[in-house]
């Protein structure tokens, strides 16, 4: 999930040899025919670079995304919720792992990708730089963040790059319970005491706009290349996915009896004449805030990176021990 906002254009070099252009044309023909590109296949350097960046950002988002929800595992208010939340956050770890492995098929190592994250050079989804302040945030994240992620991830199951597409199929299959568990938390809170319902509304108020930002800048101002679309890495624009998300979410919020924090939200019927058909128009998104978060100035950017660095640094001796033992055992077997 969480790559829509991030993939930026790679400028191809101006002059290329004829042979490469020919290879590229053959490559594009395969992509156009909906063939999957596999790890050892020839691919344009820019395609490889775009994929490494997108897949690794996706992986980083899963791993950093463990932290805001992980913050509540020890405080989940029932044993059932505790088990579900632990399983969900663990799934995110697994998804990060699948995705790093998919990126590795393109010739980078997990160590290199991890280093990019830990040094702050790599990006991950802006959403995880917001804090989780109450139990209702577990509901809001599952319902909205995972809901938004699914919009983005389902088309990625048909991505032209085989290892990425296969990883996404696995991810999507496993994530099917994530949004449901979030919505169930919200529903339980909304049917609970007035304090619980207020907690749910307050969480929705905080998460709604950041969730809309997850889809990335509006198409008009987006630097998204048509290239990703031509390569069939990306199949829908930011605004298309955002609109889909809003349309799906409005009735869900209504069912909960919660109010989306957008006074400009209104239904706009389409031209079909059927008054029930159309889209929910939403108000202005605060893109200045989005830019600040991406620039590292979100409320939790520093904490998130610090937590990942701490885990990595404190785990170094463990990873070294396992390698040292493996080396010793090889040596003993050889002797």
């Amino acid at each position: 999930m969480y790559t829509q906002a991030l993939n930026a254009r790679d400028d191809a070099p101006a002059i290329r040899p004829a042979e490469e252009l020919e290879q590229e044309a053959r490559f594009q023909a395969r992509v156009d025919a909906e063939e999957r590109i596999e790890a050892n296949d020839w691919m344009p350097a820019a395609y490889r670079k775009t994929l490494v960046r997108q897949i690794s950002q996706h992986a980083h988002s899963e791993i950093v995304g463990m932290l805001p929800e992980g913050n509540w595992i020890t405080r989940a208010p029932s044993l059932r919720r505790k088990a579900a939340l632990l399983a969900k956050v663990q799934d995110e770890c697994g998804h990060g792992l699948y995705l790093y492995a998919a990126a590795e098929t393109l010739g980078v190592t997990r160590e290199e990708l991890t280093e990019q994250l830990l040094s702050g050079r790599a990006k991950y989804s802006s959403i995880f730089n917001y804090p989780t302040l109450t139990w209702a945030d577990m509901g809001a994240i599952g319902w909205l963040v995972d809901g938004a992620a699914i919009m983005n991830q389902i088309p990625l199951c048909r991505c032209s790059y085989g290892p990425y597409a296969r990883a996404m199929i696995r991810v999507c299959k496993e994530e099917s319970f994530h949004q449901r568990q979030g919505y169930e938390i919200m529903l339980t809170l909304c049917r609970g005491t007035p304090e619980q319902k207020a907690m749910a509304q307050e969480a929705l108020n905080r998460w709604w706009w950041p969730c809309l930002m997850m889809f990335g800048p509006p198409d008009a101002s987006s630097q998204h290349s048509d290239q990703s679309t031509r390569w069939k890495i990306k199949r829908f624009s930011n605004d298309e996915l955002r609109q889909k998300f809003v349309d799906a979410t409005v009735p869900q919020a209504e069912y909960l009896g919660l109010t989306l924090p957008d006074p400009d939200l209104r239904f706009v019927p389409d031209e079909s004449g059927d008054a029930s058909k159309g889209h929910w128009a939403y108000g202005e998104i605060d893109w200045a805030e989005f830019k600040q978060i991406l620039a590292g100035n979100g409320p939790c950017n520093r904490d998130r990176l610090a937590a990942r660095n701490k885990a990595h640094d404190e785990g170094a001796w463990v990873r070294e021990a396992a390698l040292a033992y493996a080396g010793k055992r090889r040596a003993r077997q050889a002797a």
Binding site: S78, A83, T193, A321
Partner: protein, 258 residues
């Protein structure tokens, strides 16, 4: 907020179930604290799996306790509405995670006992306990395998990992004796043939531990003085903090459903 605490009528069987449930919950909770912070993604997955197994065991045992108590309490009442002195888990289970070595050694010492114990308890004449034992035994067998493999690698890995593993053994050792204790209430169940005397597993546990520590080039401590008190509610300072965190949400809004 002790006002929302429940009172439990601890018949021997209820007490027995709560003790084992509390072991599993508290240890599972500790493992869940690693989620997102483990030394490698692969180990993050593994520790969460073990934590989830233990949470599942706790839930089955609480349900059984609730059934035996027949006072209308639920698994969540037991987990979230008892204070530290009402908790009946082993001190070993509540000790803080420390570094990866301490977490792994703690798991190893516990699993080396629990695996033997649950396997034997599969023959309990109480069908619910036998069923819980059958499920727990399979899970615990893997926990033992996983932790033992890591004990070997940490002990026989680098100088640093050896030192950390040896420190963990020394720190945890005095808490291992409590696993084999049974008080009068539990002894009554043993005499009735419902449950097994944990003392009967000491030799087999000792052998597993000796073998693995030896392979790990770690020294096994001499018997020595053993800490106890968890089974009767006299805990370390750590459990209160664990419960303060764990119980904070349901205790803040009494009577709410989550």
């Amino acid at each position: 907020m002790t006002t929302t605490s429940i009172r439990v009528v601890e018949t021997p069987l209820v007490l027995y179930a709560l003790r084992r449930a509390d072991d599993a919950l508290v240890l599972g909770h500790r493992l869940s604290e690693w989620c997102g912070h483990a030394p490698a993604l692969e180990e993050d997955m593994a520790l969460a799996n073990i934590g989830l197994d233990l949470l599942g065991q706790a839930r089955s045992l609480y349900s059984y306790a609730a059934e035996m108590e027949a006072a209308g309490h639920t698994e969540d009442d037991f987990a979230f509405h008892r204070d530290a002195p009402q908790y009946r888990n082993l001190l070993l289970a509540e000790l803080p995670n420390g570094d990866f070595a301490r977490t792994i050694l703690r798991q190893f010492f516990y699993a080396a006992f629990a695996d033997l114990y649950w396997r034997a308890m599969m023959a309990s004449p109480d069908p619910t306990l036998a069923a819980i034992a059958a499920k727990s035994e399979k899970e615990t067998a893997y926990h033992l395998r996983h932790s033992a493999e890591w004990v070997i690698r940490l002990g026989d890995g680098t100088e640093e990992s050896h030192r950390r593993a040896a420190d963990a053994v020394a720190y945890l050792w005095p808490y291992t004796g409590e696993m084999f204790e049974a008080d009068a209430a539990e002894r009554a169940l043993v005499d009735a043939g419902t449950v097994l005397d944990p003392a009967g597993f000491r030799d087999a546990w000792d052998k597993t531990v000796s073998d693995i520590l030896a392979e790990a080039t770690l020294e096994k401590p001499a018997a020595g003085w053993m800490q106890q008190g968890g089974r009767s509610g006299r805990h370390s300072e750590h459990l209160g903090h664990l419960l303060a965190v764990m119980q904070s949400v349901p205790r803040a809004i009494p009577g709410a459903t989550w």
